[in-house]
């Protein structure tokens, strides 16, 4: 399980990085395309990517503690 933690981190970081870069990329794209080479889509995209990655990462790390319940209808 320790490896999973490490794997999780790897994933998380990789995902975050990918997302950030992807966000950056998207941001760049948007910045370049849409937002007239503003910086804010870069940071927004990277932030978005980072946040998404962070969130994913957090979610990934939280995932064991998440309880999924189900409503059981009374029949």
């Amino acid at each position: 399980m320790a490896d999973e933690h490490a794997r999780k981190w790897d994933r998380c970081l990789a995902d975050t990085a990918v997302k950030t870069v992807t966000g950056l990329g998207v941001g760049i794209v948007f910045s370049l395309i849409v937002f007239k080479r503003r910086a804010w889509p870069l940071s927004f995209g990277s932030g978005l990517g980072l946040g998404m990655g962070y969130s994913n990462c957090q979610h990934d790390f939280r995932s064991p503690y998440l309880i999924h319940g189900r409503m059981v209808k009374d029949q």
Partner: protein, 732 residues
């Protein structure tokens, strides 16, 4: 020193040898002084005297040697008698003693002999038994035999013998009894022999004396008869001579005959007297013999004695009769002779007168016829007349004195008659007494015989009754004894049988027991063997189990770092195979976790190593749990891990308190435990982690649990296998 002693000994020996006053010293001195020849002589004398002295001494010591010497060497007995005195003879036993001694050597028989009645009484009784009823006695004795009977109180020989036998019977043992009886019988026989001899002697003597006395008596009687005859003859002749008127020649013949008869009478009388004396002598001797034999008191002699006495009496009676006859004849003859003497006296007187008157005339005046002259005749006639006158006067006187004379004569005759009567009465009395005595004795003898016969018949009857009784008793006893013996026999047989049965039973039992024991032992051995087999089997199985377990535990060790062990499936299978019928082991073997079987388990070292790496991770996520699991928390937890320092290893307390549940502490405790090889405690401690740290170490925990479980099972199995293996070596 030795030589001196020898010399001294020699000297003393030689000194002691010669008892003579010559000492060896003086002899030697003498010897030295003499020449050689005299030396030889002296030496020879010395030798001879020494030899004689030695012989005498030895003869004194040894009687046989003395006897031999006396026998062989002449005059030696004189010499030895002189030197030693008469030889001591061996005392020879007198015959009586020999008889007594040879009767019986045993004390019992002698005691029996002394217990017997006086031998004098015994002898006649035994004698009688021997002589008169020996057959009965032996019959009685044989009938009595060994049976002890009540000793009869009578004193007859049978009773005495019986009493003796009964005395010997109960007292002695059988052998002694027979020997006693034989000894007694021997003694009796000896006594009987003696008695026989005695009796023979007595009877012989009696017979001899009887014969002699009879002869003498007969002779005496004959002589007396002859004398009587002679007397009678003489008296007759005298009477004839006196009264007969015969011729002178015949008268002279008569006188001659008379003289002859007188001579005969005198000779006959003398003979008779001699014969009488002889007869008396012989009768006296007979009487003495009779008295002797009576004195012997041998009853069987009694009839002989009796007969002899009777004979004696008869002879005496005859003799007395004869003597009386002779005496009467003699008295008659005396009377006649007196008469004849008177007549002769008268004749002589007359003759004398005649011769005085007529001296020329011879005697025998009857023959005178023509020889006388007238003067003579006248003188004779005158004388005759005178004589006639005288005679007439005497006759008248006699007639006058007749009565007185007759009285006197009667008196005399009475006296004589009285005397004769007395004598006769005495003799008759004696005879009668003798007769009576003889009668009495005869009657006594008869009575005795009768009594004896009766006694014998009674005894026979008694003996018969006794034999009957004895037979009955014997029968009864036989029955009893038979019954007893049968009983004893049966009891003994029973006993023997029971013993036999017991023994056989015992034997059987023993055998059965042995068999049982053997069987049991066999069974035991078999069982033992089986159990051994079983045990060996089990041992083998246990060994196999152990081997498999060992293999299992060895396969546990095959875990290298970070590589789990080989899958334990094979080993577990082997274990399962090796403990097919062992539920416990089977259960244990099946208790192995699947994962260990399939995948194998990690070793402790790898776990330890992993833990070390895990520890940092757990430290890093120590703050994350269900409630705090954002990334920020992650960051904070990382920060904490970076800033918090704890001991890398800390000994865990025996009881965990709430502050010990801090993950860092727990981790340090667990490290400590791991370092000290206590995986279980480490796992326990690690189990206390919560949250993310727990999640992080969950794998490790699982692995640790797996390892622990497997190890536990394997340990259990190994322990079990060891126990089983040990158990198989133990006796059940």
């Amino acid at each position: 020193m030795l030589r001196a002693c020898l010399r001294g000994a020699n000297a003393t020996a030689r000194v002691s040898l010669l008892p003579a006053p010559l000492s060896i010293h003086s002899c030697l001195l003498v010897l030295f002084h003499f020449s050689s020849a005299s030396k030889v002589v002296v030496a020879g004398l010395l030798t001879v005297s020494g030899g004689i002295g030695g012989t005498v001494l030895y003869a004194k010591w040894d009687h046989k040697f003395r006897a031999a010497v006396e026998k062989n060497v002449p005059y030696s007995d004189w010499l030895l008698g002189l030197a030693l005195g008469p030889a001591a003879q061996d005392p020879g036993l007198p015959i009586k003693k020999r008889v007594r001694c040879s009767a019986h050597p045993s004390h019992m028989a002698l005691r029996v002999v002394t217990h017997m009645e006086a031998p004098e009484r015994l002898l006649p009784s035994v004698f009688v038994s021997h002589l008169e009823a020996s057959a009965e006695a032996t019959h009685i004795i044989s009938a009595i035999g060994e049976v002890p009977s009540v000793p009869a109180p009578c004193d007859t020989e049978a009773a005495a013998v019986k009493g003796i036998i009964t005395e010997t019977g109960p007292c002695c043992e059988a052998t002694v009894l027979t020997t006693a009886r034989s000894a007694v019988l021997l003694y009796y026989s000896k006594c009987l022999c003696l008695l026989c001899d005695c009796f023979a002697a007595v009877s012989a003597s009696l017979e001899d004396s009887l014969a002699s006395s009879a002869k003498a008596a007969l002779q005496a009687i004959g002589a007396q008869e002859a004398a009587l005859q002679a007397i009678m003859q003489h008296t007759d002749k005298l009477k004839e001579a006196m009264e007969a008127e015969v011729l002178p020649e015949e008268k002279s013949n008569q006188w001659k005959d008379l003289e002859a008869a007188l001579a005969d009478r005198t000779t006959a009388l003398n003979d008779a007297r001699a014969a009488l004396s002889k007869a008396n002598e012989s009768l006296d001797s007979l009487r003495s013999v009779i008295d002797e034999s009576k004195g012997l008191k041998i009853s069987s002699v009694r009839p002989l004695v009796l007969a002899a006495e009777e004979n004696l009496h008869n002879m005496v009676v005859d003799l007395d009769k004869m003597v009386m006859k002779v005496q009467s004849a003699e008295s008659e003859a005396k009377i006649v002779s007196q008469y004849s003497e008177l007549v002769n006296e008268a004749k002589r007187q007359f003759q004398r007168e005649v011769s005085s008157l007529t001296p020329e005339i011879q005697a025998n005046w009857k023959g005178l016829t023509g020889k006388l002259s007238t003067d003579d005749l006248n003188a004779l006639i005158a004388h005759a007349h005178r004589r006639i006158d005288q005679l007439n006067r005497e006759l008248a006187e006699q007639k006058v004195r007749e009565k007185i004379h007759i009285d006197a004569a009667l008196e005399q005759q009475k006296l004589e008659d009285q005397k004769a009567l007395d004598n006769a009465v005495n003799t008759a009395l004696q005879h009668v007494k003798e007769d009576a005595r003889l009668d009495q004795e005869r009657k006594l003898a008869e009575l005795r015989e009768v009594m004896e016969a009766e006694m014998r018949t009674q005894l026979r009857r008694q003996a018969a009754a006794h034999t009957d009784h004895v037979q009955d008793v014997l029968k009864v006893q036989e029955h009893e004894l038979k019954a007893e013996a049968e009983q004893v026999l049966s009891s003994k047989m029973l006993e023997q049988e029971t013993r036999y049965r017991q023994l056989t039973q015992e034997q059987l039992d023993n055998f059965t027991l042995d068999m049982n024991t053997a069987y049991a032992r066999l069974k035991g051995v078999e069982e033992a063997i089986d159990s051994h087999v079983v045990a060996e089997d089990e041992a083998r199985k246990a060994h196999q189990l152990w081997l498999s377990v060992e293999a299992l535990s060895y396969s546990l060790k095959t875990a290298e770092a970070d590589v789990p062990t080989v899958p334990l499936e094979n080993a577990a299978q082997a274990v399962r195979d090796s403990c097919r019928d062992n539920d416990f082991a089977l259960a244990l073997a099946s208790a192995l976790p699947e994962k260990s079987l399939q995948r194998g388990v990690y070793s402790e070292a790898s776990l330890r190593a992993r833990f070390n790496s895990l520890r940092s991770l757990a430290r890093r996520v120590a703050l994350i749990d269900e409630s705090r699991n954002s990334l920020y928390q992650y960051f904070l937890s990382y920060l904490q891990a970076a800033l918090l320092f704890e001991k890398s290893q800390e000994a865990p307390p025996s009881q965990l308190s709430s502050e010990d549940l801090d993950p860092f502490k727990l981790l340090s405790y667990a490290s400590y435990c791991l370092e000290h090889g206590d995986l279980e405690l480490a796992a326990k401690l690690v189990n206390q982690l919560r949250g993310e740290a727990r999640r992080v170490v969950e794998d490790w925990l699982i692995e640790a649990r797996l390892t622990l479980e497997t190890r536990q099972v394997v340990n259990l199995l190994s322990a079990y296998a060891n126990a089983v293996g040990l158990g198989t070596t133990q006796a059940p």
